[in-house]
């Protein structure tokens, strides 16, 4: 345990205290107590900046399950530090915002902050774990806390729907990812990411490599809402807005990005990695932005926008993988993509966080987030409007905001793929810049919709629940801080270059950054009249045109049939699996014991018959057999006849008498085989049971054999013959394979001398195996108690003490 571990666990410890604050100090909003923690943690993590600046690392470890190679190694490098700062920094702002957003009178704050703290700790754990198993543990914990937060208002159907959807999809990915981790651990014999990276060459040639990669990417893509798994994110917007800002845009959904970045050093050399990460990323960018335009809910727009932006970062990480195929660092232009990914990650957290908070304010002050009911709010909430402008313009990629810078770098990264001459990029590479550009046009459009449909246009007071006014100052602090960062990073990007971006990018590609050196990171606004600039100008021009003519072409969206969507697939899939399972189960579980026994016996015949045949196990040996006498033949004939009579009997009484005949005949066999005590026992049991059966069955209704059809009877006959045949074959074979002298010789030798008894059977029962007899007696006692209870106690009649 170290201070670093304590930092990771501190949110959980704090979570335990939250209910106390909530109950004990009702007057003060619980959020104020919670707020202290992320601030302290943020400051704590800041002190690692000097360590990672030179690509250094800081590591502390403690053993959890060392026997299985599972330790909790906390590891700080550029990449994890960047995430840790985002988690705690944005976390502090979100908590501050939530204090004003959630009423301390009406809301269950203790739940809210417990979940939020759980998430914060889990997320810190994800990005600071070196051990894959601890990483997985925290990963699932983020899914769980997200589930709880989405369903925070658990009496709403939509909240529960969204919570379940997000959980099913992300836990599915998590399990696949676990599978991938296990494969990695089989290949590399360790759960440590560090040690796996060290043997990346070996892993790359392992036959399980691709299998592991696909499983792990499933985890990353589901968590980071990539196509086609993104469908949970829009529904996750049912969570309170501070949660959406925090989990579903700034941090949790970036866990997938983190995972891809972290494991790039293992997988990125592979062509499949490039195509999967880059290809799915760029398509998600396009698809998300395209769908964002048609949304009418402000949070819906932001959700699809987040999907799209995550795709952007993902595609950059894919493109950055190309860099590994080129040796020299100095002129390795492909590292630019990775640097852009890191930079955009930061920028996205700032502008998207502020936009979510803006939307939260609008929702809070007007009671709606529907852009068809909003409009003209600029004069009521000027500060919010200003923040919205900054955030949206940054998102659209306009100067001088930070989004412009990273968007330009994104274009650079995509354009560079055209010059790469591997992986068939000559043919297919063009898709990347084209999709990037088209996606950016749509991004521009929805950014404009977000701001202008809300704050300009016609004010429609009749559609609003309450009269809008500016938010309280406290609620504005957090978005103002974020908007200020958008501007600050836009104007002075190099504040970040070597403090955060370079260390993170170097941590993603350790193999091409030699020890002691750093990547060249320089961000600037002006690169001359480059292709990127013209692309941006194109985006703006076309974007403005399309925004202005929005009403004319928005109908194009309705061309797509509403039913053929991934959401419908999820909904019907879930419904069908429940319904289908019900029908399937109902079909074979019909409640009839006869049917069940037929299943069981058919399996019995089939599998034992197959084994007998397959193993050629049937043997008959006629050695050591006594001659068969007339008595035996007669008795056997009686037994067979008796059995047949049971089957043919029309009344129960006849059946029982036939059954008794069979039993008595068996005891006659014992007589012939010179086992008088067994014969006596059998006789007593037969007599008693026949008498009891006669007594009981007298009260039962008549048999209705006529209702049983011929097929039913024939089926039963086949099953019965089958079971009989199989048992006979096995018995003959077992009898013919006596390979050892039986232990009974010992009993014969010792019954008199050692156990001092003259009847061997008796001695076996009461001495050699007296333990068996003791418990057989117990069985009788239990049966007696049971029958007594069954006869005397009828709860259904009295209705007393029933427990159903």
């Amino acid at each position: 345990m170290s201070l670093l571990h304590l930092a990771i666990f501190s949110p959980f410890l704090m979570a335990i205290l939250v209910p106390l604050f909530y109950k004990g100090l009702r007057k003060i909003h619980t959020g104020w107590f919670v707020l202290i923690l992320p601030i302290v943690l943020f400051v704590y993590f800041l002190q690692f900046l000097p360590v990672t600046r030179d690509n250094g690392v800081f590591q502390r470890s403690f053993d959890w399950i060392p026997s299985l190679g599972i330790s909790f190694t906390a590891y700080v490098d550029g990449l994890s530090l960047l995430f840790a700062l985002l988690i705690t920094g944005i976390g502090a702002l979100v908590v501050l915002y939530s204090i004003f957003y959630l009423s301390k009178e009406r809301e269950s704050l203790h739940n809210f902050y417990v979940y939020l703290l759980m998430f914060m700790g889990a997320m810190l754990g994800v990005v600071l774990s070196d051990n894959l198993i601890t990483l997985y543990m925290f990963w699932e914990l983020t899914s769980i806390s997200s589930f709880l937060l989405i369903a925070y208002w658990y009496d709403r159907d939509r909240s529960r729907y969204g919570a379940l959807k997000s959980m099913l999809i992300t836990v599915f990915g998590g399990l696949a990812m676990l599978g991938g981790f296990l494969l990695l651990s089989i290949m590399g014999d360790t759960f440590s990411v560090r040690e796996l990276i060290a043997q990346a060459d070996v892993l790359n040639n392992h036959p399980l490599f691709l299998f592991a990669m696909i499983l792990i990417l499933l985890g990353a893509f589901t968590k980071s809402a990539q196509f086609p798994f993104y469908i949970w994110l829009p529904d996750a917007m049912e969570a309170p807005t501070p949660v959406s800002a925090y989990l579903h845009s700034a941090t949790m959904v970036k866990a997938g990005i983190y995972l891809v970045a972290r494991l790039s050093a293992i997988f990125a050399f592979s062509e499949y990695w490039f195509w999967l990460v880059g290809g799915i990323g760029i398509f998600t960018l396009f698809w998300g932005s395209f769908n964002a335009v048609k949304q009418t809910d402000l949070k819906g727009i932001l959700a699809f926008s987040t999907v799209s932006q995550l795709g952007l970062i993902m595609s950059l990480l894919g493109a950055g993988a190309i860099a590994l195929h080129f040796e020299a660092l100095d002129d390795n232009i492909y590292t630019a993509a990775t640097i852009a990914a890191v930079f955009h990650l930061i920028n996205h957290a700032t502008f998207k966080g502020s936009l979510f908070m803006v939307v939260g304010i609008v929702d809070h002050e007007t009671g709606t987030r529907d852009i068809r009911r909003l409009g003209g709010l600029m004069s009521f909430m000027p500060i919010t409007f200003t923040i919205a402008i900054i955030g949206a313009f940054s998102m659209a990629g306009l100067p001088p905001f930070n989004g412009f810078l990273s968007k330009e770098m994104f274009f650079t990264g995509m354009l560079q793929l055209l010059s790469a001459d591997i992986f068939n990029l000559e043919t297919w590479g063009l898709l990347f810049p084209v999709l990037a550009w088209v996606g950016s046009v749509f991004t521009f459009i929805y950014s404009m919709i977000l701001v202008f449909k809300t704050f300009t246009g016609k004010y429609q007071p009749e559609k609003l629940e309450r009269k809008p006014h500016e938010a309280p100052f406290g609620m504005l602090i957090s978005p103002i801080v974020l908007a200020a960062l958008v501007v600050l990073f836009g104007l002075f990007p190099n504040l970040l270059s070597y403090s955060l971006i370079q260390p993170a990018a170097a941590a993603i590609m350790p193999s091409i950054v030699p020890a002691g050196e750093v990547l060249d990171v320089h961000v600037s606004h002006w690169h001359g009249f480059s292709t990127e600039l013209f692309m941006t100008i194109g985006v703006v021009v076309l974007g403005i045109l399309m925004y202005l003519t929005l009403n004319k072409w928005i109908r194009l969206y309705s061309i797509f049939p509403g039913k053929v969507t991934l959401n419908t697939l999820y909904d019907t899939g879930l419904y069908a699996s429940e319904r289908g399972s019900y029908n399937v189960t109902k079909a074979y579980m019909n409640g009839s014991i006869r049917t069940y026994l037929i299943y069981i016996f058919v399996f019995f015949i089939g599998i034992l018959g197959f084994t007998l045949w397959n193993k050629d196990a049937f043997t008959v040996s006629t050695d050591n057999l006594a001659p068969i006498g007339v008595y035996e033949m007669v008795l056997s004939a009686v037994i067979i006849a008796g059995t047949m009579a049971i089957l043919a009997a029309k009344s129960r009484l006849t059946s029982i008498i036939a059954l008794g005949a069979v039993g008595y005949t068996v005891s006659l066999f014992f007589v012939i085989f010179r086992a008088p005590d067994l014969a006596l026992t059998q006789l007593v049991i037969e007599t008693v049971s026949v008498a009891l059966f006669l007594l009981c069955f007298y009260h039962l209704p008549q048999l209705n054999r006529d209702q049983e059809g011929r097929r039913f009877k024939l089926g039963n006959l086949a099953v019965a013959l089958g079971v009989g045949t199989i048992v006979t074959l096995m018995a003959l074979s077992a009898h013919s394979t006596k390979r050892f002298e039986s232990i009974s010789e010992y009993y014969i030798a010792n019954t008199y001398e050692e156990a001092a008894g003259k009847n061997m059977v008796n001695v076996i029962l009461v001495d050699f195996r007296g333990f068996d007899t003791l418990f057989e007696i117990s069985v009788l006692a239990i049966a007696a108690l049971g029958i007594f209870g069954m006869i005397k106690l009828r709860l259904s009649k009295k209705g007393e003490g029933a427990d159903e």
Binding site: L68, Y154, D155, L178, T585, I607, A734, Y746
Partner: protein, 493 residues
């Protein structure tokens, strides 16, 4: 103490006998049950420590030297299973005080529960294949009584089916033991193992392996022998259901593990392949059943079948890692299944229905029950650091390592289905708008919560403290990997 290992059988046996005498006084019955079950549990813990320090413990009953008398054998596998069973019976006994109802208490409920524990602990401990049959009978007879006691219509109807299936399986058990005796001429399990190792796995032994699989599979509810289970388990009241769900199927699984590791390990290409296929189908049909229903009891009952499949799959992989994983998982599953049944029992008490669609909003008034249930859900699904994780991790990893990709992936994804099935209970039972249920104030929710919470806590500690458990579980898998350890301990002279 030499005869330590007999205590977990003897204490409940003596207790059961005593309790029959005191059947009129419920208070006395409760006190004696509780104290003696604590005693059984304590004895089993001492047993674990003894086995840990001194190796496998054996007793030749009546001092008839093995293999001629009956030998009890406690290796680590049986010791941990005995301890787990005793803990579960302890918690369920406590839960029954306020749940089973005085009528059943007066009609020998507590002695029968003790008899059930005799049967279960005996089956785990015996080293004699016929004696195993006897303990099966003790266990089954107790379960017949538990399923029928109370005499409600559904109980009577389902107990007929239950008894019928189990009598058939008992008959097959005797046939199987007889045939095995014919071939190897012994009943002592270590002795049988030794003799089989001398002659190799003859074809008839492979056939007998399959026959034993059917016998134990009927108890363990593997595919396609589980059909009787959902209906029968549904009938009795919740504490009985919890006993059955957590203990009985595991005795079947244990017997498969024991017999397949001691006797039938010579033709794994055939037998273990068969196990593996049946295991995977069991997981799938269990999953299908688990998501099919909106009845809380049914949902958890089908989850029993999923777990049986997972355990059988883990065992069928047959490496040291997979055995360790299987044992980790079997203990986890016993604890968490009992906990889940007890928790849904509380839900049923409050709402007076087991239909999920008629429940809702319980978290408002019963937050402790709700959160305990949620933790149990995640433990069941194997979310780390809770108890299901380590077992599943080892099972899946060993499956991958042995090239069983499809089976491993199915086991992995079954976690998702399992999670979905129980989260459905949480979301619809505890969430949604709160409702009022007639008579809910009278229900002893706080009291019933305690034993359930003890079990969930045990599960959490078992998961997070996996390092403490690891040497014990690892030792438990030793005898599975290497039967000579078991043989030498029994036939040491």
């Amino acid at each position: 103490m030499i005869n330590l290992l007999i205590l977990p059988i003897l204490i409940p046996l003596v207790t059961a006998t005593l309790l029959i005498i005191f059947s009129k006084s419920i208070a006395v019955q409760r006190v004696i049950s509780l104290i003696s079950t604590i005693g059984t549990f304590a004895a089993s813990i001492v047993l674990i420590l003894t086995v840990k320090n001194e190796g496998i413990q054996t007793v030749n009953l009546g001092s008839w030297q093995a293999p001629f008398g009956i030998t009890l054998v406690s290796d680590m596998l049986s010791a941990v299973l005995v301890a787990t069973s005793s803990l579960i019976v302890l918690c369920i006994t406590l839960y029954s005080f306020r749940s089973i109802g005085t009528a059943r208490e007066r009609f020998y409920y507590y002695p029968i529960v003790q008899f059930l524990l005799v049967g279960v602990n005996g089956a785990f401990t015996t080293g004699d294949i016929f004696n195993l049959f006897v303990f099966f009978e003790v266990m089954l007879m107790s379960s017949y009584v538990l399923i029928v006691i109370g005499g409600t219509k559904i109980q009577l109807r389902e107990s007929v089916k239950y008894i019928l299936v189990n009598i058939i399986s008992s008959a097959l058990f005797v046939i199987a033991v007889g045939m095995l005796y014919s071939v190897v001429g012994s009943l002592n399990m270590a002795h049988i193992s030794q003799r089989i190792s001398e002659i190799g796995q003859l074809p008839i032994l492979t056939v007998l392996a399959v026959l034993f699989l059917i016998v134990f599979g009927l108890k363990g509810a593997i595919f396609p022998l589980y059909f009787w289970l959902p209906g029968s388990y549904y009938a009795p009241p919740v504490p009985v259901l919890a006993l059955f769900g957590s203990l009985l199927t595991k005795v079947g699984i244990y017997s498969i593990m024991r017999s397949y590791s001691l006797f039938f390990y010579g033709d794994q290409a055939f037998t273990h392949e068969l196990l593996s296929i049946l295991a995977i189908i069991t997981v799938i049909v269990g999953c299908i059943g688990a998501i099919a229903y909106w009845d809380v009891k049914k949902i958890i009952i089908y989850n029993i079948i999923v777990a049986v499949g997972v355990l059988l799959f883990g065992f069928s992989v047959a490496t040291e890692e997979s055995y360790t994983g299987t044992i980790f998982y079997i203990i986890h599953d016993m604890i968490i299944k009992a906990a889940l049944f007890l928790l849904i029992g509380i839900m049923i008490k409050i709402t007076a229905t087991s239909d999920l669609r008629q429940m809702g909003g319980l978290i408002k008034k019963y937050p402790l029950v709700g959160w305990t249930f949620l933790v149990a859900c995640f433990a069941l699904a194997g979310i780390p650091p809770l108890s299901g994780f380590v077992g599943k991790l080892l099972i899946v990893r060993s499956g991958f390592a042995e090239g069983q990709y499809i089976g491993s992936i199915i086991v992995l994804l079954s976690s998702l289905v399992v999670l979905f099935s129980v989260i459905k209970i949480f979301m619809n039972g505890f969430w949604r708008a709160p409702k009022d249920y007639p008579g809910e104030e009278k229900q002893p929710v706080q009291f019933l919560w305690v034993p359930a919470a003890i079990l969930v806590l045990a599960s959490v500690l078992y998961g997070t403290g996996a390092e403490v458990m690891y040497p014990i579980i690892s030792q438990a898998s030793d005898a599975l990997v290497n039967p000579t350890i078991y043989i030498d301990a029994v036939l040491k002279e």
